[in-house]
């Protein structure tokens, strides 16, 4: 090999070393609702940050990463504590609105009677007149926080069922595959649904309880041939931030 050829090879190697880091996927820190995490956006895909929900789109294909609210009694209590903080800060109507909007797996799993029983301290005061100026509301929020601790923790099946509850076509679909997957130190429930009759139109999902919240990565639109590799690529890149 001549000297000139050797110099060319060295230059080529140097160019490769310079360009490789630029081509490697870039980890991005995102805030999904209350959960902070790192992920590698899909190259060529549009990423829309809607706060509680992040959408990843490519043509007719769409994946979503969503904070579905409290997943555990502790998560529910945390959300109610935020409402209590608003109440104590004098933002009374905001606090009342927040308690009214509280949802999540622990409440969803209860029977109608048990849910009514849980909410009783709140229901006893909320229909009074001029509630924004009634100190009983603050007491009721505290009672809800105390009672949240006594709620049963949801099972993995309940987490999975909750993750599918907001889809309108759940009746026509069944869970085809389900497995526990460890991804970057987090224990996810990964599952796939399909059409009951033909087992086609498959959609992948994964959900994770993180810091008392339920995170869901879902296939929203697109044929399985286009979505499966993208879903897996995004899924395996997700890592909870250190502060979680």
């Amino acid at each position: 090999m001549s000297l000139r050829t050797s110099a060319r090879v060295v230059a080529l190697l140097a160019a490769c070393l310079v360009t490789i880091p630029a081509c490697s996927p870039r980890t991005q820190v995102v805030q999904v609702g209350r959960t902070s995490l790192k992920l590698v956006p899909l190259p060529g895909w549009e990423h829309l940050d809607h706060g509680r929900q992040h959408l990843f789109r490519n043509g007719e294909t769409e994946l979503a990463l969503t904070d579905l609210g409290p997943a555990t009694p502790e998560g529910l209590a945390d959300e109610l504590r935020d409402a209590e903080a608003l109440w104590l800060a004098g933002r009374r109507l905001d606090a009342i609105a927040q308690v009214r909007q509280v949802q999540g797996v622990p409440l969803w799993c209860l029977s109608r009677e048990a849910r009514h029983d849980y909410m009783r301290p709140w229901l006893d005061v909320i229909y009074e007149r001029d509630i924004a100026n009634r100190p009983e509301v603050g007491t009721a929020i505290q009672a809800l926080i105390r009672k949240a601790d006594s709620l049963p923790p949801p099972t993995p099946s309940q987490l999975m069922a909750y993750a599918l509850a907001d889809y309108s076509d759940t009746d026509r679909r069944e869970i085809g595959q389900r497995q526990v997957r460890w991804v970057n130190g987090s224990e996810w429930i990964a599952f796939r649904t399909w059409d009951r009759v033909s087992h086609s139109y498959r959609r992948s999902y994964a959900c994770l309880e993180a810091g008392g919240r339920l995170l869901r990565l879902s296939t929203e639109r697109g044929h399985e041939s286009q979505t499966e590799s993208a879903f897996d690529s995004l899924f395996t890149s997700i890592q909870l931030s250190d502060e979680e």
């Binding site: 069944e174 085809g176 059409d195 009951r196 009759v197 033909s198 087992h199 086609s200």
Partner: protein, 270 residues
């Protein structure tokens, strides 16, 4: 490019093509089926390994059947299907009566009578004399249960429902009962002349008694094999159908070989 290098490249290209064609579905190679899936179309589940993905799947819920078609892409009408006879499975009222017994304490009288009316078996066009007798016995017991409810005697109502449940267990359709209704009858098809009946036989497929037929369909473009296999398991009827060319028949046979009827469903006598 030097001569030895060019020769090396040429040999490499030829070898690559030879491998590609050798693995690509030549004469004796068999298609690799997909992993087994279990379908819960009716009370008795069925599992099988679907054909490769070049057979595009489509759900089918028509003509009293519930199942899945696998249509060969670019195959000019070649299709295989596995289906359950939903219409006949729904004649079995065991589940409805058992559910009514379980819920009778929590139902109001009006709800109970409504559910009771839904639990009645069909009496029109019975599958066999035995089914007609069983349906009459079930309906008589349900009539007595209704009278007991109207007379405010819930204890007697439950006893009569249990009697109806026993009567419903007395009969399960067999392959022999259903075969005249479910096998191909050209005169019932839109263009009877296109069908030619061939060889039919009792056999055992997937360790279950079955009835298989080898017929012919004269489609507008080409002559196609039309093969069907019927099973009745646990009172539930299923069929697998192949409509296609001889070349793809091994794929259908492989799929049929993988058919299983899980959850211990007992086999009705042929």
């Amino acid at each position: 490019m030097t001569r030895p290098l060019a020769r090396f490249v040429r040999i490499g290209v030829i070898t690559t093509f030879a491998c590609a064609f050798g693995c690509g579905g030549g004469g004796g190679s068999r298609a690799v089926l997909l992993p087994a899936e279990t379908f819960h179309w009716i009370r008795q589940p069925i599992s099988f390994c679907p054909p490769p993905s070049r057979w595009e799947r489509q759900g089918d819920n028509g003509g009293g059947l519930l199942g899945v078609h696998f249509i060969l892409r670019g195959g000019g009408g070649q299709v295989m299907s596995v289906s359950a006879f939903r219409l006949y499975a729904e004649r079995d009222r065991r589940e409805a009566i058992a559910r009514l017994i379980a819920r009778q304490d929590s139902l109001t009288r009006r709800e109970f009578l409504h559910e009771l009316s839904l639990a009645r078996p069909r009496t029109d066009e019975p599958l066999s004399e035995r089914e007609a007798e069983a349906s009459q016995a079930i309906n008589a017991a349900l009539d007595r249960a209704m009278s007991s409810v109207l007379d405010d005697q819930p204890g007697f109502a439950v006893a009569n429902l249990e009697s109806a449940l026993r009567a419903s267990r007395d009969y399960e359709p067999t392959l022999e009962d259903l075969l005249p209704l479910i096998r191909l009858q050209p005169q019932r098809m839109q263009e009877p002349d296109r069908w030619k009946l061939g060889y039919a036989r009792d056999t055992v497929i997937s360790e279950v008694p079955a009835f298989a037929t080898d017929d012919t369909l004269y489609a507008p473009e080409q002559k196609l094999l039309y093969q069907e296999v019927f099973w009745v398991v646990n009172g539930c009827a299923f069929k697998a159908t192949y409509q296609g060319l001889e070349a793809n028949l091994p794929v259908f046979k492989d799929v049929v070989e993988t058919i299983r009827f899980p959850q211990g469903g007992h086999v009705a006598a042929n």
